[in-house]
Amino acid sequence: MTAQAFFIGFFGLASVWFGIVVFRTYSMMRSAIALLFSQTALGAMFLSMQAEFLGVLQIMMMATEMSIMAIFMVMFMMDPGGLGEMDMTHQKRLSLIAGFVSFVAAVAVAVFVDWGPVATTFPDAAQQTVDLGLELLDRSMLIFETAGITILTAMIAATAVAIQPVKKGDDK
């Protein structure tokens, strides 16, 4: 077993473990931080697979996103100290089934898809960044821009829906 395989396995297990921790706590803060570390471990997996840009990007984005998620949860629940003993699970049966089905589907894809021959040579990190940039702004531009705009719209819409309308003369 090479060191690379060891680290991929290690971070993979860490990612799964932190994912489980998310649901084992009753505090939104702990839950958010556990989710963050789960995603960070995923970023570390990318790093062990020599995908430097993706790894660093994952590690960076998730820290911001999870923290902002935490503050949104706290704001909407008005529970900054996390003392509400909030259960992190809901619709248990549905979530269990959905989780299991997606797990089986992911494993099936990993096992049954013909991935082609294993690459023995790969471009160095700087070249990877260049290739990724060309990919994002060339062939896949439409996909990524559409996804980006959709996410932005969804975020703005979600925030707008969540804000209580302020009556005139009632503010402050």
Partner: protein, 301 residues
């Protein structure tokens, strides 16, 4: 070897920041004060709050120090003096610095104290304000260098430093890094008078020493990043024959001094006000900066 040298230099830098901060804020220039303070911290009793989240409480200060050091790992002080010249260096600095926020959140929430918790959430509010102003100016810098390698970014400024090439980006990055290092006037999360120290309030002894050291290292790291991104890194002014490391040192110390000095003359800014300023003016300006740099890069290569 480089790792060791940079770590020692960071420690030295933190010492200088401490001396400077003492000098600028209290008007006392005492070279020995930081050392005595450090020894005193180590000798003091470490109070532990009654019901802390052990993990968050202990990890917070260490993570703050660690993320500042990690960010410094990709900053070149001379062409060779760099811990690791990552192909994604400019992005890696961002990634490491975001964990400053995670550290402060953990340190704020962990001790189970109202003051520190409010401090932690305040810093999160501040992050939403400054985060884009760190990322977008760095994007413009990388656009000019056509690389994320920090050494390449320095080399790209051989003819003209970025502070002249993209002054708007420099101003935004400078403000954002002051907010990131929670220097005055953006230091409401460790507000002494109002929150009894905010995030720091439940820490004492050794842990507080690590927290403070982490903050000092963070300040020097951000000053070094500013120098690398905007002030030509190790490159000197023509006509003055100083070695590259001396140029780096002089510039970093000047930027640090500027950061500390400016904060003394501006009233403190609440994170909510910073938030609205950053999103109404800062981000459009940062986008404008990217646009201008894009036009410059394409038209005058």
């Amino acid at each position: 070897m480089n790792t060791l040298i940079i770590l020692v230099l960071l420690l030295l830098g933190a010492y200088f920041v401490a001396v400077l901060e003492n000098w600028i804020s209290k008007g006392r220039f005492q070279l020995g004060a930081p050392l005595f303070a450090a020894v005193a911290f180590l000798g003091r009793e470490s109070f532990i709050p009654r019901k802390p989240d052990q993990l968050f409480y202990e990890v917070g200060p260490v993570l703050l120090l660690l993320s500042a050091i990690l960010a410094a790992a990709v900053i070149p002080l001379t062409p060779d003096l760099i811990i690791t010249d990552l192909a994604t260096g400019a992005l890696f600095i961002n990634a490491a610095l975001v964990y400053v926020l995670v550290a402060l959140l953990m340190a704020g929430w962990g001790p189970d104290g109202a003051y520190s918790m409010i401090g932690g959430w305040r810093f999160l509010g501040q992050l939403i304000a400054y985060a884009m102003l760190i990322v977008m100016p760095i994007t413009a810098v990388a656009m000019r260098a056509e690389s994320l390698l920090t050494t390449q970014i320095v080399v790209s400024q051989a003819e003209l430093w970025n502070i002249v090439y993209q002054p708007l980006g420099f101003v935004l990055f400078f403000i954002a890094s002051m907010a990131l290092a929670f220097l005055p006037p953006f230091d409401m999360m460790i507000a002494k008078g109002e929150l009894a120290g905010g995030v720091e309030s439940e820490y004492s002894g050794m842990r507080l020493a690590i927290f403070r050291l982490g903050r000092l290292v963070l300040i020097i790291t951000l000053a070094a990043a500013t120098v690398v991104f905007y002030l030509g890194g190790w490159q000197g002014l023509p006509g003055i024959g100083l070695p590259p490391w001396a140029w780096s040192a002089i510039k970093i110390l000047l930027v640090t001094a500027a950061m500390l000095l400016i904060g003394r003359y501006i009233p403190r800014i609440r994170e909510a006000h910073l938030l609205s300023w950053c999103w109404i003016f800062g981000i459009p300006l940062a986008l404008l900066n990217i646009f201008i740099v894009g036009v410059l890069v394409l038209e005058f290569p």
